[in-house]
């Protein structure tokens, strides 16, 4: 793999994303809502032990959970399938580039603009907090933004798995939207339902939560922001008491990293090694 080629391909992908009207719409919506959340949040009070930057970051968690997985899954899912469908992938591969370079270039080229829009949303909100004289929890605020980037990377990897196996972009988008619903909307309900139906113990419920990257992001963000882990409910209390706060954060970060690495590796190997042909 040539780093130079990866950077050229990533650069093209980034420029295309930044020109894409859906991506622009997503970024603008995310930023507007981030500022809106900040403006309607109460002044200097402390909620659940979080104030200033921390409280703003906590408010942004739900926004991140709604927007970031959706854009990461959709852009990831159409990245290869779209080019395969319109024939540009085969033309690109007729040039001196490898499929591995194309794959890594696409991953980076999509992740960078998503991280850019996350940074923009958090940045605007951060400026808002500073203008209102807020203080404290600034490192936690930055950490939450980084966790959002990790969430984007993990769901982008999942989106790429969808893309590698899809011949048509429309089908890939359908699967991506279903996965978004599954991870975001049905995630909590699924855990609760499974816990009740199968009479799961608290340990199993915690393990079940780790199977959903969005859930992992949510727990990790709350733990990063709040010293009062009780707000996570009995599962959070169990996890913190068993592994310690730092231990849980380490486990959650590791799980998010695995949610990035495993789908990425699976899609990479399938696309560049197992499916050598693009006929």
């Amino acid at each position: 793999m040539e780093i130079r080629n990866i950077l050229i391909l990533a650069g093209k992908e980034t420029r295309e994303s930044l020109k894409n009207r859906w991506f622009v719409l997503y970024t603008v919506s995310f930023c507007v809502l981030a500022v809106l959340i900040l403006s309607i949040a109460p002044g200097r009070s402390e909620i659940a032990g979080i104030s200033g930057y921390g409280r703003t970051a906590a408010s942004l968690i739900n926004l991140v959970l709604l927007f970031v997985p959706l854009i990461a899954l959709i852009t990831g899912s159409i990245s290869i399938s779209g080019e395969r469908e319109n024939g540009t992938l085969q033309y690109l591969l007729s040039h001196p580039v490898t499929k591995a370079e194309v794959f890594v270039g696409k991953f980076l080229g999509i992740l960078v603009p998503i991280c850019f829009s996350i940074s923009l949303g958090f940045g605007l909100a951060g400026i808002g907090v500073a203008l209102r004289g807020g203080s404290g929890d600034a490192p936690e605020f930055v950490l939450t933004a980084l966790l959002s980037g990790l969430l984007a990377a993990s769901l982008l990897s999942v989106g790429l798995v969808v893309s590698v196996f899809s011949k048509r972009a429309s089908k890939a988008i359908g699967v991506a939207v279903f996965l978004w619903l599954f991870f975001i909307v049905l995630g909590d309900l699924g855990i609760m339902g499974t816990a009740v139906a199968m009479d799961l113990g608290i340990r199993q419920v915690f393990a079940l939560a780790l199977l959903n990257p969005a859930e992992v992001f949510k727990i990790a963000s709350v733990l990063v922001l709040s010293p009062r882990f009780e707000i996570l409910g009995p599962v959070g209390v169990y996890a913190v008491r068993t592994f310690g706060r730092e231990g849980v954060i380490f486990i959650l970060l590791s799980v998010m990293a695995l949610w990035t690495i495993i789908p990425f590796a699976y899609a990479f190997i399938t696309f560049s090694i197992l499916r050598r042909e693009e006929s």
Partner: protein, 299 residues
């Protein structure tokens, strides 16, 4: 040199390319001739390493299976239907120039060469079919490749754009470059190729110089010649005596068949006898005629 040895490519039970073997020497222009589904495009994709195959392909001494990226860097490829990203023309060329490690000034140079310099700020979607083909040709020329592979380069072009495009390829060939192009038109083969490789059902059924191919397959060029009514009988008998096959009268003229590719022979005969020619049209053999000829020849 490009060498294709016993290459077979199957899609399920269908053998799209079946034990194809031939070589293309440096500076040669070789046409892959065949009807749709003959295996021309599949073979080209195998040369580019886009498809797996059995057998062996070497490009400039590099085995495609072992060093596909290096082999591709020696090839400029023009697909049958050029497809581009939704970018400005110059940006598309710049993108591929960076991938092909071409000089910085090369994009503007190749766009100028193919006559697209004034369209460089247009989006690819705003270009006509002929312009898109030329854009694809410009990209293929970026790294001044040793080999140019063109997959039915004129299939989507009108007559004017086709003539212009063939001239561009001819110029490239005359600079001593190696060209492989697929086609189902014998006139293009005559114009550009040193050799024609005839493919049928994935197999190479003939590998000959174009005039030898015509001779072997008994292919003639048909010509409608219009002369004034009072000269029709005289002209027909004059041409028959000159050994030209006269198929029959039609309207103000007659249909003749010329073997061996010298299409001007009947016109010269008529002019030598001071018979005025009002007009003429040429009908090249169709792919069906060629394949019928190949079948007669035992292929």
């Amino acid at each position: 040199m490009i060498e294709i040895k016993n290459v077979t490519k199957s899609f399920g039970k269908l053998k799209a390319v079946d034990s194809a073997s031939f070589r293309v020497e440096k500076g040669e222009a070789v046409s892959l001739l065949g009807s749709n589904g003959a295996g021309k495009s599949t073979l080209i994709k195998c040369i580019l390493g886009l498809l797996d195959y059995t057998g062996d392909i070497t490009v400039g001494g590099l085995r495609v299976k072992e060093r596909p990226k290096e082999a591709k860097s020696l090839i400029g490829y023009l697909p049958q239907e050029p497809l581009f990203y939704d970018m400005r023309t110059l940006d598309i060329v710049r993108f591929f120039a960076r991938l092909r490690k071409a000089d910085e000034g090369r994009p503007a140079e190749v766009l100028d060469k193919v006559g697209l310099a004034e369209h460089s700020s247009k989006y690819a979607s705003e270009l006509s079919g002929g312009m898109r083909q030329r854009l694809s040709f410009a990209i293929a020329l970026l790294s001044e490749p040793m080999f140019l592979i063109l997959d039915e380069p004129t299939s989507n072009l009108d007559a004017h754009a086709r003539a212009e495009f063939l001239r561009l390829i001819k110029d490239y060939k005359e600079n001593g470059k190696t060209v492989i192009f697929s086609s189902h038109r014998l006139d293009e083969v005559d114009y550009l190729a040193d050799r024609a490789v005839l493919m049928k059902d994935g197999r190479v059924v003939m590998d000959e110089e174009p005039h030898a191919l015509r001779r072997k397959l008994g292919l003639g060029t048909k010509m409608n010649i219009a002369v004034p009514d009072e000269y029709v009988t005289m002209a027909a008998s004059a041409l028959s005596s000159a050994g030209i096959i006269v198929h029959g009268k039609n309207g103000r003229g007659f249909l003749v068949e010329v073997k061996g590719g010298d299409s001007l022979h009947p016109l010269r005969e008529l002019m030598s006898m001071d018979i005025p020619v009002l007009g003429f049209s040429v009908e090249e053999p169709t792919m069906e005629n060629i394949l019928e000829g190949a079948a007669r020849d035992g292929n």
